[in-house]
């Protein structure tokens, strides 16, 4: 069977800015595929082309085996799309919003009822079904928007930074829901600017300035990281960092919340590193090897 989302050599520029530069990727059935990258990496452009709202300069996009540029009506009626700024009707209740989206997609009332029951099970919005959408908390609005786009039972859903500005507990809950949907066989493409969410995806593409820096399972990506990382801790992180910047280690250090990460490209090993730091009279509290994370990988590849 062909993969539900196939993107081949996609290019799109806005004036002089190459927003998407030769991106190719495929999303397999039931996958939670993450487009991970900062603002301006090209995430939204890729998504808008996929849902037929934007034409590429070149390259092909296939949705359920059909060429998106030739079948926009098919795409729009079969895909579930949650844009960055989703719109709910604030003065309609939760249930009225769900019915409205059901009606838009010509779903029969009976079928709508069934689908709503299923959606209430994991959104936990049932107790709030008569509450106005405008009176919901941020996390609940997010879940309602997700439910609305699932009313027509799409096999593939596409979400553009759904967790932006949402607190960690609601984000956690939202990702749990995505996981449940994937277990029901729904294929999910989701974008985020936050690396910690990458670990919740089955596969990710790290995007930067329109390029894919790396693409694989999150675990495989960090295991592939070629050299060891050491973490240096100090109660004067800023002065330690500025001192290290004046040494031959300058290009191998990065500031992290839990300390300074040194990526040991030349395979010096801990003993040599410690000796050099002593030679240079650089003081620190501790040094230990740590597992590289996706941010280490991103920092290395984006140079």
């Amino acid at each position: 069977m062909e993969n539900p989302i196939v993107i081949e050599n996609l290019k799109k520029s806005y004036g002089k800015v190459q927003a998407v530069d030769n991106v190719s990727l495929e999303v397999a059935p039931g996958e939670v595929f993450g487009l991970i990258g900062p603002d301006g990496a090209g995430k939204t452009t890729i998504i808008r082309i996929l849902v037929s709202l934007l034409s590429p300069d070149s390259g092909k996009v296939f949705f359920l085996g059909k060429d998106v540029s030739k079948n926009p009506v098919f795409v729009r009626s079969h895909i579930g799309y949650m844009p960055q700024r989703f719109s709910l009707y604030r003065d309609l209740s939760v249930e009225q919003n769900l019915r409205f989206f059901g009606d838009l997609f010509h779903i029969s009332r009976a079928k709508q009822g069934k689908q709503m029951e299923w959606l209430y099970n994991f959104s936990k919005l049932r107790p709030f079904k008569n509450r106005l959408a405008g009176a919901l908390s941020g996390g609940m609005k997010q879940k309602l928007a997700l439910s609305c786009m699932l009313m027509h039972e799409p096999e593939v859903i596409v979400l553009d930074e759904p967790t932006f500005g949402v607190d960690p507990v609601s984000r956690h809950e939202f990702w749990d829901i995505l996981k449940t949907l994937a277990e029901h066989g729904i294929t999910i493409l989701v974008s985020t600017a936050y690396m910690d969410e990458a670990n919740l995806c089955s596969r990710v593409a790290l995007l930067h300035e329109g390029h894919i820096l790396a693409m694989d399972k999150p675990k495989t990506l960090v295991q592939q990281f070629q050299h060891p990382i050491f973490r240096l801790e100090s109660n004067q992180p800023y002065s330690l960092y500025t001192k290290l910047k004046t040494t031959e280690f300058a290009d191998s250090i990065h500031l992290f919340g839990d300390g300074i990460h040194f990526s040991d490209k030349d395979q010096l090993g801990q003993r040599t590193i410690v000796r050099k730091l002593k030679e240079w009279n650089i003081e620190y509290d501790s040094i230990q090897p740590v597992q590289a994370n996706l941010e280490d990988l991103f920092l290395e590849r984006m140079r």
């Binding site: 900062p38 996390g139 607190d167 507990v169 910690d196 991103f298």
Partner: protein
């Protein structure tokens, strides 16, 4: 990280601070203090009362009861002094996109009431510092997001305040720019500035000297990130936060 900053002086001192909106108690007898030169992370779920607290500390909202002093000034009676001693930068920072870099700096200098000579000096200082001379006369909209963010912080502190409030400062920037931004924050703290950060992103919490976690109007945890991680047996602040706050799921 365990940064050394303590000299026992407080930049923010809050005792039993409370704010009601009608029958709803948004902030419920909150007490805490932030030391001079500290980087303090102010965390909590949506609707926990963070914004209300910050608004009271910035002199934008009167408390219902309790006391709070910011930079030694009373939030009830010395609002103007507070506004002069704090800088504020939000996630939707307010640079003028169709002004050049230089014009933005000059504009904010004017807003903060700096004299013309000072503005000229500050402009040069800042362009040096941010390494933006080559882009001084370029429109702000054409700058990469990471540069805009550093510029927004720099303009928010043109009047040399001692306390800086940052509201989700690094949302959406790439990992390298985020590090540049945090280096800037560390540098400010080294110079004795107090940095008060609110954020939903727990990797930012890891950079703070201490964090507090708010839940339903109350501060339920306040300590160093590594102490909280140990207390909850978690490897990340993300997990600590979820453990502390998760009882409010579903509201």
């Amino acid at each position: 990280m365990n940064r050394n900053y303590s000299d026992g002086e407080f930049a923010v001192e809050v005792s039993k601070l409370t704010r009601d909106f009608g029958h709803f108690r948004a902030v419920d007898a909150v007490s805490f203090s932030v030391e001079k030169g500290e980087i303090f992370g102010f965390l909590g779920a949506n609707g926990a009362g963070k914004t209300t607290t910050v608004r009271m500390l910035c002199g934008l909202l009167m408390p219902s009861s309790g006391t709070a002093a910011v930079g030694g000034f009373d939030v009830y009676t010395q609002v103007e002094q507070i506004k002069n001693s704090i800088g504020y930068m939000s996630q939707s920072f307010s640079l003028y996109e169709d002004l050049t870099v230089r014009e933005n700096i000059q504009f904010y200098g004017g807003v903060y009431g700096l004299k013309r000579k000072e503005i000229r000096r500050k402009t040069e200082e800042l362009l040096d510092y941010l390494n933006l001379w080559d882009h001084a006369d370029q429109l702000t909209r054409d700058l990469p997001l990471g540069w805009k963010q550093r510029m927004a912080l720099s303009t928010a502190i043109l009047h040399d305040p001692n306390i800086i409030f940052l509201d989700e400062p690094t949302s959406g920037v790439d990992p390298a720019s985020r590090r540049d931004f945090w280096l800037l924050i560390y540098e400010l703290a080294e110079r004795g500035k107090t940095v008060f950060v609110t954020t939903h992103y727990m990797d930012e919490a890891e950079y703070c000297d201490r964090v507090s976690i708010m839940k339903q109007g109350k501060i339920v945890e306040i300590d160093k990130p590594e102490v909280l991680k140990e207390k909850y047996g978690s490897e990340s602040m993300q997990q600590v936060f979820i453990n502390v706050v998760s009882e409010v799921i579903g509201e």
